[in-house]
């Protein structure tokens, strides 16, 4: 029997994707996609660079916080900066994002407060931020579930005659879930303005993408009647351009699109994971040569833009962000004893109210006992 996921000629090594910036920093021109980058001047390029450096730094800081016992868990995005910043920066403020747990780079683009970013990972809150403040739902842990939410949101935007787009972020593993496929069915049937943005980071915990799919992930969507793109996910310019194009398509009534961003999870699945158990170190070395930040740095250098001032500014921004996150983490207020009873319902609920009252009495009984001693 053939074992899935073990074929070295499989999708892992297939590089037929849209690339506008080669690993060595060479800019590749494209008649189709360059128009979507017309406004990307030197400043904007530097901005994208800064974004990527900052989110990598934040990611490292969060990993460090976890190692130091300040966070319970952290799902690193290391290696996926271009996919997240490229797509994240393509979004309009009133677009709405439904993501998984790994899209902290996207949340950064949405303007998330850096303390909010880690509340849930410290175990203090069921989730970090107010979805309506940054138009991004809080991390979805159930693999694939959010793709349906995005589709429904997009249907509703269309009911409203609004041209906002809903964007669903999910991984290569998620494509196997029924929900993701149902989302494509609904999106196609209702021509919903939704963008399915799949970060194929080659792994779903220990499972290689070749176990989930026999061909390219981007081949799936056309069968549902959804236009699809396969893009170099480590190329921030390609991610930006293709996302812009797909968003525009949705905005003008063209319906859903699917983007497969081919990238690599350079770190562990989460801080609880040990990838040495299931993957070859050489693979990581290969992907390091395609590092998303290095190649933008190379382009900036080549264009003479990566001067000391920029380096320092970016370094400073990253350090500041990391410091802000660390301070926010360490100074985060502990939840109150009865907070767990809050926000289960919007309106009074006598059964739960009674449980809460009993538990309050129970907690009080200790205090009484202590006073009694």
């Amino acid at each position: 029997m053939s074992l899935p996921g073990t074929d070295p000629t499989g999708p892992l090594n297939d590089e037929s994707y849209i690339q506008l910036l080669a690993p060595d920093g060479t800019r590749i021109t494209s008649a189709e996609f360059d128009p979507w980058l017309e406004d990307i001047d030197g400043d904007r390029l530097a901005g994208l660079y800064e974004d990527m450096v900052v989110v990598r730094r934040l990611d490292q800081e969060a990993t460090a916080l976890q190692r130091q016992g300040e966070l319970a868990l952290w799902p690193p995005l290391l290696g996926q900066e271009a996919a997240q910043i490229g797509s994240g920066r393509a979004l309009r403020k009133d677009d709405f994002v439904f993501s998984s747990y790994r899209e902290n780079g996207v949340a950064y683009c949405r303007g998330v407060d850096l303390t909010d970013m880690i509340r849930v990972w410290r175990g203090n809150r069921p989730s970090g931020w107010d979805p309506y403040e940054i138009n991004m739902a809080t991390p979805q842990v159930i693999i694939g579930a959010q793709t349906l939410h995005a589709t429904g949101y997009a249907m509703a935007a269309k009911f409203d005659g609004d041209d906002a787009v809903a964007v669903a972020y999910f991984g290569d593993g998620a494509t196997s879930q029924g929900d993701v496929n149902e989302a494509m069915v609904f999106a196609a049937s209702f021509q919903a303005p939704v963008l399915f943005f799949c970060q194929n980071n080659q792994w779903a915990i220990s499972e290689p993408v070749g176990l989930q799919a026999q061909g390219k992930l981007s081949d799936r969507a056309p069968g549902f009647g959804i236009p699809s793109y396969r893009v170099d996910g480590n190329d921030v310019l390609a991610c930006l351009a293709v996302t812009r194009k797909a968003l525009d398509h949705a905005r003008i009534g063209g319906g859903p699109s699917f983007i497969e961003a081919v990238t690599y999870r350079m770190g562990p699945h989460t801080t609880a994971d040990d990838p040495t158990r299931y993957r070859d170190a050489n693979e990581l070395e290969d992907w390091k040569r395609r590092d998303p930040i290095d190649r933008l740095a190379a382009l900036l250098s080549a264009e003479g833009l990566l001067d000391e001032a920029l380096r320092q500014r970016v370094q400073q921004a990253a350090d500041d962000a990391a410091a802000e996150m660390r301070a926010g983490c360490i100074n985060m207020a502990e939840p109150g004893d009865l907070e767990l009873f809050e926000n289960v319902y919007t309106a009074p609920h006598p059964v739960l109210a009674r449980q809460r009252q009993h538990y309050e009495r129970y907690l009080d009984s200790f205090e009484a006992a202590e006073w009694g001693h």
């Binding site: 709405f96 069921p126 989730s127 579930a145 349906l148 429904g152 249907m155 069915v185 609904f186």
Partner: protein, 335 residues
Amino acid sequence: MTTMTFGRAINTGLRKAMENDPRVVIIGEDIGALGGVFRITDELQKDFGAHRVIDAPLAESAILGTAVGMAYRGYRPVCEIQFDGFIYPAFDQIVSQVAKLHYRTRGRVRMPLTIRVPFGGGIGAAEHHSESPEAYFTHTSGLRVVAVSNPQDACTVIQQAIASDDPVLYFEPKRRYHTKGDVDENALEDALPMDRARVEVPGTDVTLVTYGALVQTAREAARAAEDDGVSVEVIDLRSLSPLDYSTVEASVRKTGRLVVTHEAARTGGLGAEIAASLTERCFYYLEHAPVRITGMDIPYPPAKMERHHLPDLDRILDGVDRVLGRPNSLTGLED
């Protein structure tokens, strides 16, 4: 007041909710041109358009999941599940998303979904068409669960459910769809709140608690018992979560005897929760252990066997005898 069937009463309630709030949309299978397999959404698509009465592709998880997305954007979706047994493909979205999103987002996102579920047996149907899955949802924190038993409640409670900012599972006893009753379509304002039980038949000797289709059977049982000199107080729970313990408790304190009946399997059914809670609350008032008259612990059986599975008048009366310590089918068996 208009006389109408149970089914029409739900239709009327849906129509009023849609008229009153443009953010109410309905989504489900075959609810458009067909008006639903039970015709509960009859004419609604014609009158409100295909954007508000949405025929969905055949996928329950997606019906619920897209409704969640619509709720994110301020809509109040009403999801129709075609038959009880088809709710399970949507279970994940209901339990892990619908029930938890308000909690997850610390109250920022509201999930004012209503999930309509025709439930229960007694219609001679095929497999998966007669189930009573309510206990799965009453055990799920974050949901509200109601079951209606008569046309008036059907009409008002559906409107209350849609108006609720919490997600509500609305169980419809499909074998009563053709029952007729008087309905005041404008009764919403002074209607009993959705989470309150109702004393259907006052009585003094035995408290008989039920919901949905069995309310009618319980009324019949109370009448039969009366002929026999036993005064049975029938309570229609209406709300299955939260349970209106104060109403039930007041009754049990008075009667000292509790019978609960439902179609769902006995083990882990709602009867267990009610019996346990009332024992906690009324232990010293109880003359006898609460008695449960329920469906058997079996998959829903074929049509020709369902009469043995479903509680009926006689089984309920046997339960009344049991709780009264009168001769009954189990007399002599240590129970």
